[in-house]
């Protein structure tokens, strides 16, 4: 209960550090989500509706990548962006951009695999009709994405949840630098390591409140959709 009180105190006091960290968390995860969605939704859809040798393997791979530990993703992106790595010349390590890249790598398989399942279900319903209407290729992908838009919110939400709650990858590639790459989760990790457990817990409560807010928004959207038989 102390943590909740403390969380409210921080929010009400408009604690500048808290808002800076919270805002960076949101910014990084939302941008990562936007980039990832642009890649993963068409990819998941295309895999659901296109027959080619190796398709099953691709889907299997996506599902396996869903379980990839964030630390491993962080390590891979770190080695890539390290000044002695292949992309070192970009100078991106220990920047929010590096964190965005890591989160994109982390959540793209998740959104792609989940959306693949959603679209596969829709494809069973639509395939004959689309075939009959001659809807194929890019036009079909777009149509599936538009028609599954409300069902896909769940997939996107899963990606956002993973991104905003994840600490292992962003702490490696971001470095948890104060006022530069410190986000909610790395701040929680830091406060925990300083033994400030109640502060860490209240930061966690703020993160939980954010998650509640986002989830209720999505539930609202889905209820609207269900009323119109769009879900």
């Amino acid at each position: 209960m102390d943590a909740v009180t403390e969380a409210f105190r921080l929010i009400i006091a408009l604690d500048a550090d808290l808002f800076e960290i919270l805002w960076l968390s949101i910014r990084v995860s939302v941008i990562a989500l936007a980039i990832s969605a642009v890649i993963s939704l068409p990819l998941g859809t295309w895999l659901a509706i296109t027959e080619f040798p190796g398709r099953k393997f691709c889907i299997l791979l996506l599902n396996a990548l869903m379980g990839m530990p964030p630390v491993v993703v962080g390590l891979m992106v770190y080695l890539l962006l390290s000044r002695s790595g292949p992309l070192g010349w970009l100078g991106l390590l220990y920047t929010p951009t590096a964190m965005i890249i890591a989160q994109v790598v982390l959540i793209t398989p998740i959104i792609a695999a989940l959306s693949n399942q959603v679209i596969e279900n829709l494809h069973q319903e639509y395939s004959d009709t689309f075939y009959s209407m001659g809807v194929t290729g890019r036009r079909a992908v777009v149509a599936y994405l538009v028609d599954a838009r409300y069902a896909l919110t769940t997939c996107i939400l899963a990606g956002f949840g993973r991104a905003i709650a994840e600490v292992g990858a962003v702490i490696i590639v971001g470095g948890n630098i104060d006022h530069l790459t410190r986000v909610m989760t790395t701040a929680i990790a830091l406060e925990t390591s300083k033994g400030n457990l109640s502060l860490a817990l209240s930061l966690g409560t703020v993160l939980l409140a954010l998650s509640l807010l986002v989830n209720s928004l999505v539930i609202g959207v889905r209820e609207y959709a269900a009323k119109r038989q769009y879900a």
């Binding site: 009959s132 209407m133 149509a143 028609d147 038989q229 879900a231």
Partner: protein, 244 residues
């Protein structure tokens, strides 16, 4: 897009020739060498007991199923090459999760761009003009099937296939659909429909193909078929005795 056809213009997809068409499912030949030629315009009704292969044959014509053996030609064309001149209405209409009007616009983006008025007319033709902005899947079953028919007709197909399209619909919708199908056929569209409804077949059919045990058992003009079917199987079917 096709140009408007009239009854006296030759239909490019006629004659339809089906020769020795075989389709195996498991160890059963569900289509066991269908031979059939349809050269007349108008409305052909596929009749026959459940499981005889009517729907499968229709799906082969549309290219939804590739047969294991045999050949189909429509005019000079293969199934694949004729597909953009075909349209099909399924037993259960599948409408997109959009409004009624948007469903039509999606099916015919060219028309939606250049002649949007035609979409409204299409809705009017199935008495759905006042439902244009309703979510399509909120419509009743009959309304949904009417919308599906309007959608199928947007491309002015040379061949219209209907797979038990009016089964279990409200009488008003059945009437609207039958009238529109009939009007379409008089404008030159070849119509093939699968139906279990003898009343509907009597009302619409110019000729009947009786399908039994995976074969086209009989093809007769409609008036002759209902009065004097030539095969014992058709006789039994019409008498309501043949179930499978």
């Amino acid at each position: 897009m096709n140009t408007l056809r009239s009854a006296n213009m030759p239909n490019p997809l006629l004659p339809i020739r089906i020769s020795n068409l075989r389709l195996i499912k498991g160890d059963r030949a569900v289509l066991a060498g269908v031979n059939l030629m349809i050269d007349e315009p108008g409305i052909t009704v596929f009749m026959g007991p459940n499981g005889a292969g009517k729907t499968l044959l229709l799906r082969c014509l549309h290219g939804l199923i590739n047969p294991d053996q045999g050949q189909i030609t429509l005019g000079d064309l293969t199934v694949a090459d004729s597909r953009d001149q075909q349209a099909m209405v399924f037993q259960h209409p599948v409408l997109l999760r959009r409004t009624a009007l948007q469903n039509l616009a999606f099916a015919a983006p060219g028309i939606a761009r250049s002649e949007p008025q035609r979409l409204i007319e299409a809705l009017e033709s199935v008495h759905l003009a006042d439902r244009a902005d309703q979510p399509a899947r909120m419509l009743s079953g009959g309304e949904q099937q009417r919308l599906a028919l309007a959608r199928a007709l947007l491309s002015k197909p040379a061949l219209l296939l209907l797979d038990e399209a009016t089964a279990s619909l409200d009488p008003a919708s059945v009437q609207v659909i039958e009238a529109l199908v009939k009007a379409q056929s008089t404008q030159g569209t070849k119509v093939i429909l699968v139906s279990h409804d003898q009343g509907q077949a009597r009302r619409l059919a110019d000729d009947v193909v009786f399908i039994s045990a995976g074969q086209a058992a009989e093809r007769s003009p409609a008036n002759q078929f209902f009065i004097a079917p030539q095969t014992p199987a058709a006789k039994a079917y019409l008498a309501g005795e043949l179930l499978l």
